[in-house]
C-alpha cells in the first residue's frame, strides 16, 4: 500500500539552531512532494515543494532534500525562531491518473523551539 510517514513524532531544538525533519515515503510512483506547516487551530500552510526530477530545493531559511533511492524526504530549517514551532507534514502526490488529484499526508512532526 501507499504511505507517507515520519521518523520522529516530536523534535525539540534551541532557538537559533538548525532543525531537520525527516519523512519516508513508500510509493515510488510519487512525483511531487510538499512540506506543510500547521500551527495550532489553523489549517496547513504551504512551505516548499519539490518535484521528483530534483534532489534539492531552497527557499527562505528552508531547504528540502529528496533522495529517491531510499525514498526519503527532509526539511531543513535554518536558524530556527519561536514562530517555527508547529506541526510539520510532508505530503506526496502520485503521477496523475484519472481521479488521482489528492495529496497523501504523513502523520506529522511537532517541532518545538526552546528559548
Amino acid at each position: 500500500g501507499e504511505s507517507v510517514g515520519l521518523h520522529l513524532p516530536t523534535l525539540s531544538v534551541q532557538e537559533g539552531d538548525n532543525s531537520i525533519i525527516n519523512c519516508a515515503y513508500s510509493n515510488s510512483a510519487s512525483d511531487y512532494f510538499i512540506w506543510y506547516k500547521q500551527e495550532s487551530g489553523k489549517g496547513p500552510q504551504f512551505i516548499i515543494d519539490i518535484r521528483s526530477n530534483m534532489d534539492k530545493r531552497q527557499g527562505q531559511r528552508v531547504t528540502v532534500l529528496l533522495n529517491k533511492t531510499v525514498k526519503h524526504l527532509s526539511l531543513q530549517i535554518a536558524a530556527t525562531q519561536p514562530g517555527d514551532s508547529a506541526v510539520y507534514f510532508c505530503a506526496e502526490k502520485k503521477k496523475r491518473i484519472q481521479g488521482a488529484q489528492k495529496l497523501v499526508f504523513g502523520q506529522g512532526t511537532r517541532l518545538t523551539i526552546n528559548p
Binding site: V4, Y32, I34, G41, K42, G43, P44, Q45, F46, D49, F89, A91, K93, R96, G99, A100, Q101, K102, L103, V104, F105, G106, Q107, G108
Partner: protein
C-alpha cells in the same frame, strides 16, 4: 476575502444529527478539496471539485457524506446521521489551477466537529 473561509468554526452535534459545513474558497480558485483531519493525524483526502464538477469522491468514508459546489464557488460538506467516529477537523482547500501542474493548496482553518 483574503483566504479560504470555513464556517462554523466549531460544531457540536448529537449522534444521529445531520450537519452542514461551509467553505468559501479564494475568489476565482478553480479547484476545491475537502480533507478530514483526526486528532494527531495528517489530513486525509475526502473529495475534489474542479469548478462545479466533483471529479473525485473516493475519500468519502460512507454514503452519509455528501459534498456539493453547485455554482463552482462555495462548497458544502454534509454529513447525515453523524456518528462519534465522524468527530474530526474538516479542512477545505482551494487552488487557482486544475492541479495538473501546481498543487499548492490554500487551506482554511477548518471546522472542528464533535459528535456526542
Amino acid at each position: 476575502g483574503a483566504g479560504v473561509s470555513q464556517s462554523p468554526r466549531y460544531k457540536v452535534a448529537k449522534r444521529g444529527q445531520d450537519v452542514a459545513l461551509r467553505c468559501d474558497p479564494i475568489s476565482g480558485h478553480v479547484s476545491l478539496f475537502w480533507y478530514q483531519q483526526a486528532l494527531g493525524q495528517g489530513p486525509e483526502f475526502l473529495t475534489y471539485f474542479q469548478n462545479e464538477a466533483q471529479l473525485d469522491k473516493s475519500g468519502l468514508p460512507s454514503d452519509r457524506f455528501f459534498a456539493e459546489r453547485p455554482e463552482g464557488s462555495v462548497s458544502t460538506l454534509k454529513i447525515q446521521r453523524t456518528q462519534q467516529e465522524d468527530s474530526a477537523v474538516y479542512l477545505c482547500a482551494s487552488s487557482p489551477t486544475r492541479t495538473t501542474t501546481n498543487e499548492k493548496l490554500f487551506f482554511g482553518s477548518g471546522t472542528q466537529l464533535s459528535v456526542l
